[in-house]
Symmetry: C2
DNA sequence: TCCTTAGTGAGAATCATTCTCAGATGAACG
DNA sequence: CGTTCATCTGAGAATGATTCTCACTAAGGA
């Protein structure tokens, strides 16, 4: 996972939405998610889906994003200008994300929360129940483009 | 820093706001920040400050939070019900936070982003420019209270 | 004390996200 | 295939956190 190009695997609308119902709108949304490639906001997804099918409401997009996130195929990866950023996430093993602030590309990274950190938390009397880790940076192309 | 009780150090309104002007409202806000102890939302801070001085506008509290955050004495530590959570943060060394979801207590933790993680990011062609790490859990008292 | 400018309070404005509701349609079942 | 009905959908209203505007006040250095 570490440093690998967080591959989209299947991308069948089918799987993206888990067990939920497969509508025309959701198929178009799944297609738009694929076309975007990297991280995106709900609004950007809404615009992208408009190119393949008109008239899909913004509420439907928000609901679809929630469904995909619940299904584990989408993960929130930070925020941009007040809107939450989402990206495709091949579930399975526990990992985190490195997001290119230039183009939105996302790669999975290994979880850095190790035993030593957990131990120091326990020493402080805490029981750790969850954690968030996200890295930001520039991908090879964006680093190059910046000169 | 690791596992230590993220001590408030001085807490003089003076230092909390960095170089900015010291008004009556901000002195009351600084006092309220101290009284809250743990993590809080802007709205909670607004309510808390009302007890020591009436009539302070919510916009003033938001501006004060922004000023303290800019000064490095406050840090965002996640969110609760849609509102950003802030907590006192003794600046200085690079560290992250472990927040008790029960009572809002916050302790500093060592940064787990190590060379190996950076190296794998570089292997993927990325230049890492920033990162966010936050742990959530229950402090000793809240763990006990939960039976 | 005077002057300049940052800070203040009220309320309007933004704006992402959620909710409401009546109508459409997946998909399971016979 | 039709029937059925819970799930989806679209439009627009509602929500709610945060920011902005603006006229006014008051730090605090000179
Ligand atoms: Mn992932
Ligand atoms: Mn801190
Ligand atoms: Zn992890
Ligand atoms: Zn760090």
């Amino acid at each position: 996972m570490s440093g690998q190009t967080h591959a989209p695997a299947a991308l069948l609308a089918n799987e993206l939405f888990g067990g939920s119902r497969l509508s025309v709108a959701r198929r178009a949304i799944a297609e738009a998610v694929r076309s975007l490639g990297g991280a995106f906001t709900a609004e950007e997804l809404h615009e992208a889906v408009a190119s393949s099918r008109e008239g899909i409401g913004v509420a439907t997009v928000y609901r679809a994003v929630a469904a995909m996130t619940a299904a584990g195929s989408l993960a929130p990866v930070g925020s941009r200008k007040g809107s939450t950023l989402y990206a495709l996430c091949a579930g399975g093993d526990h990992h985190h994300h490195l997001v290119c602030t230039g183009c939105g590309t996302v790669v999975g990274i290994a979880c850095p929360v190790d035993g030593s950190l957990m131990r120091s938390a326990e020493d402080a009397g805490y029981t750790v129940t969850a954690h968030e880790v996200t890295l930001y940076g520039l991908c090879a192309a964006c680093t190059r483009a910046r000169d």
